[in-house]
Amino acid sequence: MFLIPRFWRKIRYRYNLIGSYCENCKNYFYPPRNLCPICRRKGKIREVPLSGTGRVLSFTVVYEGENEKKPYVIALIELDEGVKIVSQLACKPEEVEIGMRVKSVFRKYGEDGEEGIVYYGTKFIPVNP
């Protein structure tokens, strides 16, 4: 599924929510970027750890997907820094409400078959289950 070097390059940005911050235009970006999309080469972009807390803007329950755990919940989340992220929610569909507060947790995203490596990353759960 995902070649090993490709997964490995992004490990630090998946295990922790590390995004980019441009000191020029003062915007946050996730996932991290090589160039500030707004300032381009005039921008001063650096890595920044994000808070991992935010609220759910929208969500869906996916029944047809590659993920081993069907059905699963995908949410569009606005982190407290104002940046948006699409991620899985590690909770039951019935528990999700637009507007609810969520926080990040470390979970398994899948594996490359029985013999392959395990993909870990960040998911979210409700702050008050």
Binding site: F106, R107, Y109
Partner: protein, 342 residues
Amino acid sequence: MIGIVSYGTYIPRYRISVDEIARIWGEHAETIKSGLGILEKSVPDLDEDTATISVEAAREAINRCKINPKDIGAVFVGSESHPYAVKPTATIVGEALGIGNEYFCADLEFACKAGTAAIQICYAMVKADMIKYGLAIGADTAQAKPADALEYSASAGGVALIIGKSPIAEIEATYSFTSDTPDFWRRDLQRYPSHGGRFTGLPAYFRHTISAARGLMEKYGYKPGDFDFAVFHQPNAKFPIRAARMLGIDTKKIEQGLVVRLIGNTYSASSLMGLAAVLDVAKPDQRILLVSFGSGAGSDAFSLRVTDRIEEFPRNPSVWDKISSKEYIDYGLYLKHRGMIE
């Protein structure tokens, strides 16, 4: 003074009751519940494993004491259910915590006492001034053969301890008793462990637990009455009670740590979870006896003395709080979560 600087725990949300398991196998639930002293056990979610549990516990430990992760000089993860047979869980934890690249590291295995072995190694490294802080983790997502007696108790959980100077609980002394005793084992490539039935009692659990506790007390001059709390490895609720009696320790002193009743045996996290539950309420100057047991076999005994620093330490949510935050699943979902059906 060297000891526990911080601790963090993680218990998965799901539970399956002894009643439910007994129902499937046509066994008598009440007999089992009174025999084991266990009512229900924790079950990991589909996307949880020993690595994710270790990370969550470790993150809590770091958040509580606010040390810079880069000051952690060693990471040791003890488990019987590492996600990989070859490739350490400890590096996944190291990366997820942002520890950097300068740390001593390995995974440990010694059945249920790998977590306490990790504490001993970290303690020695701090004492030798090799590292500033060490991270010792005991975590498991234990696998049990359906219809086997162990199915009622094998559960999931993790505890992370940061070892260093200026602790909230000083490690006054530690002593290990080890022998080659095949009471419970799992051969490579076998899915489920095997065990020697009643052989796991006196020649295994009790011989090592009692010998380690007595050895500690004799070598360092402790008496049973010196301890305010005692925490033993908890494969069920009965063994720790018997061990306390055999040592002449008031059984009331083990109640606070007896988490097995409601979350089952978290294997490498078992005695450590009991310790965390005790630290949640312990007061300065109180002394704790911790004795783990790992099949194969061995026991690590510790004498821990709580310091003043524990008063300022953020201890919420407590282990017992986490135990009561739960959701029940049935046997079918249990099999799905444990990966036994696809």
